[in-house]
Symmetry: C2
Subunit: 463 residues, 2 copies
Amino acid sequence: MSLSSDEIEQLLTHVDANLDKSLERWFELLRIPSISTDTAYAPQCREAAEWLSDQLSALGFDAAVRDTKGNPMVVAHARQEGGTNALFYGHYDVQPVDPLELWHSDPFEPAMVEDEKGEKHVYARGAADDKGLVMTFVEACRTFLSVKGKLPLGLSFIIEGEEESASRNFLPFVSANADELKADLALVCDTGMWDDQTPAIVTSLRGLVAEDMTITCATRDLHSGMYGSAARNPNQVVADIIASLRNPDGSVAVEGFYDDVRETPPEIVEMWKHLDFDEKEFLGMVGLTTPAGEKGRTVFEQVNARPTCEINGISGGYAGEGFKTVIPAKANAKISFRLVADQDPQKVRDAFRKHVRDRLPPDCRVEFEEHGAAAAVAVPFSGPYIDKAKQALKQEWGTEPVLHGGGGSIPAVESIKKVLGLDALMIGFGRKDDAVHSPNEKLDLEAFHKGIRSWVRILAALG
Amino acid sequence: MSLSSDEIEQLLTHVDANLDKSLERWFELLRIPSISTDTAYAPQCREAAEWLSDQLSALGFDAAVRDTKGNPMVVAHARQEGGTNALFYGHYDVQPVDPLELWHSDPFEPAMVEDEKGEKHVYARGAADDKGLVMTFVEACRTFLSVKGKLPLGLSFIIEGEEESASRNFLPFVSANADELKADLALVCDTGMWDDQTPAIVTSLRGLVAEDMTITCATRDLHSGMYGSAARNPNQVVADIIASLRNPDGSVAVEGFYDDVRETPPEIVEMWKHLDFDEKEFLGMVGLTTPAGEKGRTVFEQVNARPTCEINGISGGYAGEGFKTVIPAKANAKISFRLVADQDPQKVRDAFRKHVRDRLPPDCRVEFEEHGAAAAVAVPFSGPYIDKAKQALKQEWGTEPVLHGGGGSIPAVESIKKVLGLDALMIGFGRKDDAVHSPNEKLDLEAFHKGIRSWVRILAALG
């Protein structure tokens, strides 16, 4: 299907005219608290999957909710034999909402707030990551089907419910259903804009190794008056080990961690220095002034092209109100590594565990629990699909899109590359101040609206 | 009042015959969840105070529940003009019960369990610390009043409800009511036996400085994919600071920490080596083998006569099920120092805060909240009251009591010394395996029973 610019205008006018209805559907999905990191919300995750499957079925897709060992997948097909077929990936699960007291409104009751500039923002958990972005794509498909009665290219959906908990069941599912899921390219809508008015295509993603580490000393909690100083304190042991993970220059101290890191070519690092990326503004937006990572690397390089180790959670002993003079039996840390090409997740995991075991004092036992692993991915900077998408985005936003690496990890993108051999076109409409994973997550109404319009243009271009 | 040995036997027979009723009253008190570290339990703390006040009123004491800024005090008087007057101190508040899942029975429904040796143990939060021990004293008083119609000496009670949360309101209350509380000596029942059959009198207590430290970096939680390595992570900062608190030799690394520490005389350290104290057993009882504190000091010296620093709680980021790749805005540690004579709590607090501030990286803010401070206390090893108590304990247990230092802190004992000028006779009947502050706290029935009998003998001896 090749569309004239009049036909495209007609589609875009339909998007504009039906925005309120698109919002209603988006809000319905936002109201389902599909938190995947806590199995207590498994029924809500399934509810979100069913809602999406019903939506896609109503649009004419052959859609179904498909079981996994965890939260189910939504799989839907509207293939076109002989033409281009794309596989769209997104996720319907969301991050937990704690600390709840910092939210200005119910995280599962979307609130549209108009600011002093007259811009409208929709606040809810998942507003941006990823329900809002998935819905920009669904609504773009709906537009084609309403106006044209058919899609401009063959399309399958795979929408998972465990992206926020390391996509544990995605690789097995894709492996088991590889034939069914084959396509010519993957479309992924789970990333952000370069800035408020400049679109972006993400060409690489950092990988992730997530580890849960529990250190146990005594067989029970102890009174620090009775045992203080004589008994090994796991809080101290966890702190000592965490402190040992970083060198004074900000680099990661795990042996061999940088062995396989592919250095960014100097000309690319140089190019990044001329990008419109303001370190001060990027850090200042969240109240910071000084980069904390590897010395001698720009902030842009640190978050886009360098691996890191972050302590995502520590807990041990008494954390409630007041004070308790306890020496706990155990303490825990949740630690993740962001990887770049060509680091091997398993090698990093092994090196980390050895690092910990080598530093374990007497009377301590360590247990590790793995929370998924994904290698970094990188796609070529040009090619037929990416070139068309660039052009379509430029038409919508009036600005050349920026191609850059993403600091985050989308394990599914790695699985899609590994099993199906597909490069992913990663395009999204989130903004840097969307507070994804934080209280008061939002997506701007403009981002949602122009996101739908962008996908209409991209689908038309790819068709 | 001077009592013949027949009269004492008559009192002890009464104790034995009425043990079941004593148990019933003890259990009533144990059923009140008077947790002082969480203000949600303030009504239950008051309920425990009222229960005790009612008990003492019914015995003929002039008793009342007296308000403070926190949980109320129970104050009761039955003075005797011209004779010896003692002030009894205890506390009705208890530690929190978490982790609740490790309890074998409801912590607030006392369970009497008979073991394979036929010994009975009462499991409940506060069974030993301090409700069980307070009730040994109350029941001893009841025995005198039932059998003799009067007490052998003048007696006042002050029972507080914030011992487990640093006795914040005790010093102000005692200072404001010093005249009313004056006495010749203090009696304190909040310590333990030397071993199952050997009583003990505690002659010194470590002091305590408790600090709540919160480190804030960014203005909100961040996504570690987006900000990882560039943004300062407060979990890492808290860990680095905790790691800096100890030297490799196990000593505390805060500058000046040992400046005012009174060294134990070498002959005392030598004497301790010949005490029936088995390091291996003491540590082995809780699954440990290797002392963690200062190298070159015995475990007995470490816990009885050396200061320490313990991390009682750490928390930051995501601690729930699964994983969340967050860089939190803030992280917290609850840190306490056990002090010995002649360390000044304020000086230690100031030095700790300076230690932290000196190590704070850019973009970090630290907030401290103090949770009370008490200097160490030490009482003479002999004198008229302590000598009589030693004799009475020997009669009950058939063994000379051991006089030794206690590793814990009872801030009230320091306040009583400072404001009222009273040395405290610290006698208690807890055993080393009572699991105070831990799940499945217990007091043995024999300890409770012979505790009452011991106080009958001590009161008779002091009278």
